[in-house]
């Protein structure tokens, strides 16, 4: 690997994760309208990867300060609930393909944008635990962004948005991931005592997001068994291949 300045390493890998979202238009471009079950498996794949990231952050990213980590986790849940309440999206169905209400389109993009910010916090925090660990989390979230953007594309395409524009919107919604990763890394580098709090914050937010946004609809789109298997397989991949902590 190139011997980059640490903050450039964060910038590079977080950017890779954000731009991976653009690949989410490919299934639609190649196959046309996607079957409901495929969207369900996409949601389950995204949820499972996120669950894997939350799992390794929680079990390996907190060698000390588990108490602060737990408080940070509760805080993360609280902030997600607050932003959902503020934007009126607490019970928003992200898969309502036939909802043509003008407000729905921007709400879905907004939810995806807020969602991506937390993944940035997770990448920044993981990079502080160790660089190989952070890189593997960024790769997991990059893969996660593809099925997530696939579902977003399906919504946008159904509303007449061109695929090139959908790809741009998907990447755009994920750009704050890059910003949050860099900011988290810079701020916590300067105040290392905050690391357990920030790891906890990311874990709480990631779990709350995947359990309230990704999983609930997936169970309506495909059979329970297939959803559980896809999610568990994705989680297992993250656990199997993640980089070492110091």
């Amino acid at each position: 690997m190139l011997d980059l300045d640490p903050i450039l390493t964060v910038l590079a890998w977080a950017s890779l994760a954000a731009f991976a979202a653009g690949l989410g238009v490919l299934p639609r471009a190649v196959l046309g309208r996607l079957p409901r079950a495929v969207l369900g498996w996409g949601n389950a794949l995204a949820a499972g990867l996120m669950l894997g990231v939350a799992f390794v952050l929680l079990t390996e990213g907190l060698p000390t300060g588990i108490g602060y980590g737990a408080l940070g986790g509760a805080l993360g849940v609280g902030v997600v609930l607050f932003t959902h309440a503020l934007t009126g999206t607490a019970e928003l169905d992200l898969n309502a393909l036939d909802d043509l209400d003008p407000a729905y389109g921007y709400q879905v993009v907004l939810v995806n944008t807020l969602h991506a910010a937390w993944e940035g916090v997770a990448i920044g925090a993981a990079m502080l635990v160790s660089v190989p660990f952070g890189v593997s989390m960024a790769v997991a979230l990059a893969i996660h962004n593809v099925p997530e953007a696939m579902v977003l594309t399906e919504i946008l395409a159904g509303r007449g948005v061109r695929l090139t524009h959908a790809a741009a919107l998907a990447v755009g919604a994920n750009l704050n991931q890059v910003m949050m990763a860099v900011v988290t890394f810079a701020v916590v580098s300067a105040a290392p005592a905050a690391l357990p709090w920030v790891v906890g914050l990311a874990v709480g937010a990631l779990l709350q997001l995947l359990l309230s946004e990704l999983l609930p609809e997936s169970y309506h789109q495909a059979g329970h068994t297939s959803i559980a298997l896809v999610a568990l397989l994705a989680m297992g991949m993250v656990v199997a291949f993640h980089g070492a902590t110091p």
Binding site: F55, L58, T59, E60, I66, G67, G69, A70, G73, A74, V77, L81, H84, A90, E91, G200, V203, G204, L207, Q208, L211, S212, L215, P216, Y219, G223, H224, T225, I227, A228, L229, A231, L232, M235, G236, V239, A240
Partner: protein, 251 residues
């Protein structure tokens, strides 16, 4: 506890697992005081049970990974296959039926299905208890307490399905305990298996984690989402996971 120390390990495993089974019966207790149990109450009990089980699985996976990461994952695959196989043997293909919960439809059939699912998943919990004794006393006590605690909302769930259909609270407690009886029965062979084949320990820990996580994803969460608000289900599950992991670390 002092009285238990003279017992051979196999008997101790049986007693611990029996305690977790009896704890399920406690789930019926709230129904003495609550006259009407809403579907949401059951949904949120499921969400808490899901979080505690997921948190316990996280502990099993990280414990197992210390002995071998890939073996643990191999065990998890076997755990999932075990649940799938058991569902198949029992002819339990009708997942959609279970989602609708207590309020509607052929009550007798639903009660039976509920009991079958809960009993099936107790097999993996029994394996978890037995295997955890192979992972050292701290983890064994922890997993026993964890499973005993999480059995309580399962008892609540079972009772919430049976009670509105005219089954007495005492009988609901009895059925809840019956659904957990595979725990002591499976705990002993699981314990013996781990002792005899120490290298298989990560496989065993992974097996229990895989089985438990799969149960969370295939049964508990979908049912919770069906009957409760998703944000609240997510919050209860997340906080239960974090509490469980915190509890494990501090113990």
């Amino acid at each position: 506890m002092a009285a238990l120390q003279g017992l051979p390990d196999v008997a101790l495993v049986f007693v611990y697992a029996l305690v977790t089974a009896l704890a399920t019966g406690l789930g019926a207790v709230p129904f003495y005081f609550v006259k009407t149990i809403s579907e949401r109450f059951v949904a949120y009990s499921n969400a808490i049970a899901a979080g505690l089980m997921a948190g316990a699985s996280f502990g099993l996976v990280s414990e197992g990974s210390g002995h071998g990461r890939l073996e643990t994952l191999g065990g998890a695959v076997l755990g999932v296959l075990f649940i799938l196989g058991t569902q198949r043997v029992l002819g339990d293909h009708d997942e959609e039926e279970l989602v609708f919960g207590a309020a509607t439809g052929e009550s007798a059939r639903r009660m039976l299905l509920m009991l079958v699912v809960m009993t099936v998943h107790s097999f993996s919990e029994g394996v978890a208890v037995g295997v955890s004794f192979g992972g050292g006393m701290t983890l064994a006590t922890l997993i026993t307490v964890a499973i005993a605690i999480h059995n309580v909302p399962e008892g609540v769930a079972i009772t919430a399905v049976m009670r509105p259909r005219g089954v007495s609270v005492t009988k609901c407690a009895g059925w809840s305990i019956v659904s957990s009886l595979p725990q002591p029965l499976m705990a002993v062979p699981a314990f013996l298996f781990v002792e005899a084949f120490r290298p298989a320990l990560p496989w065993g820990l992974g097996f229990a984690a895989g089985a438990m996580l799969f149960m969370v994803l295939v049964e508990l969460l979908p049912e919770a989402y069906h009957q409760g608000r998703r944000a609240r289900v997510a919050t209860l599950t997340t906080l239960s996971i974090i509490s469980m992991v915190l509890f494990q670390r501090l113990l």
